[in-house]
């Protein structure tokens, strides 16, 4: 039963990732593009967690922690750059 649920969750998050790519390609404003990139990072973390369940190893959690940190820093620095024209003042 876990296998079916896992496949369903993989499908959902994969579809979500595709929708995010669509949003990045034709975003109405810059804010939407940043938001879509941030959502993409979160969906990638979820996919990595699901892949960890599938493989039964805990190796991928370090990777998803790193991706979470990188995604947060990149979102903040992108918005910071748009707001102030500078990242580190």
């Amino acid at each position: 039963m876990i296998g079916y649920a896992l496949t369903f969750a993989f499908g959902c998050f994969g579809l979500a990732l595709l929708l995010n790519i669509y949003r990045i390609v034709n975003a109405p404003t810059v804010g939407d593009r940043i938001l879509a990139l941030d959502t993409m990072v979160i969906n990638a973390i979820a996919l990595l967690a699901l892949f960890g369940i599938l493989e039964g190893t805990a190796v991928y959690f370090e990777a998803s922690m790193l991706i979470a940190m990188t995604g947060f820093i990149s979102t903040v620095s992108y918005t910071r750059y748009l707001l102030r024209g500078d990242i580190i003042e």
Binding site: M1, I2, Y4, A5, L6, F8, A9, F10, G11, C12, F13, L15, A16, L17, L19, N20, Y22, R23, P28, T29, V30, G31, D32, I34, L35, A36, D38, T39, I42, N43, I45, A46, A49, L50, G52, I53, G56, A58, F61, E62, S64, M65, A68, M69, F72, T75, V76, T79, R80, L82, L83
Partner: protein, 135 residues
């Protein structure tokens, strides 16, 4: 068996929430509305996936792992911050200060108030009257 049902329910719910968040990002009409879907629904979705993973490693594999809780905590802490920053970017790039609704006081929206203006307004008397007004 109970644990299996619990893990499967977590996985299905997390998948639905993640998908709803990304559909909301596409479908909602206004940029400020679009901000809601990914910051709330997708965060809950990834939290569900990580809880399912924690339950799986605890009860099926038999090895407790603390990492998922750390990732969930990190995401739940950073999601409001990124949401705030993106909302601020949208406000500054897409709106003029005159178009925004009134604040109800003689000061502008905090996001548009420069440091010099804030220092000029915040004299001790004004701070006391502000406190008195708020009760």
């Amino acid at each position: 068996m109970v644990v299996e049902i619990l893990i499967s329910a977590c996985l299905v719910i997390s998948g639905i929430f993640g998908l709803v968040g990304s559909i909301g990002l596409i479908k909602l009409p206004d940029p400020m509305m679009r901000l809601h879907a990914p910051t709330k629904a997708t965060t809950l979705g990834v939290g569900g996936a990580l809880v399912a993973s924690m339950l799986y490693f605890e009860f099926v594999v038999g090895r407790f792992s603390f990492h998922e809780l750390m990732i969930t905590l990190f995401l739940f802490l950073t999601a409001p911050i990124t949401g705030h920053f993106i909302a601020k970017t949208h406000l500054h790039l897409g709106h003029k200060p005159e178009d925004l609704p009134p604040t109800g006081s003689d000061r502008p929206w905090a996001s548009y108030e420069s440091d010099e203006a804030r220092a000029a307004v915040e004299t001790p008397e004004s701070a006391a009257s502000e406190a008195a007004r708020k009760g």
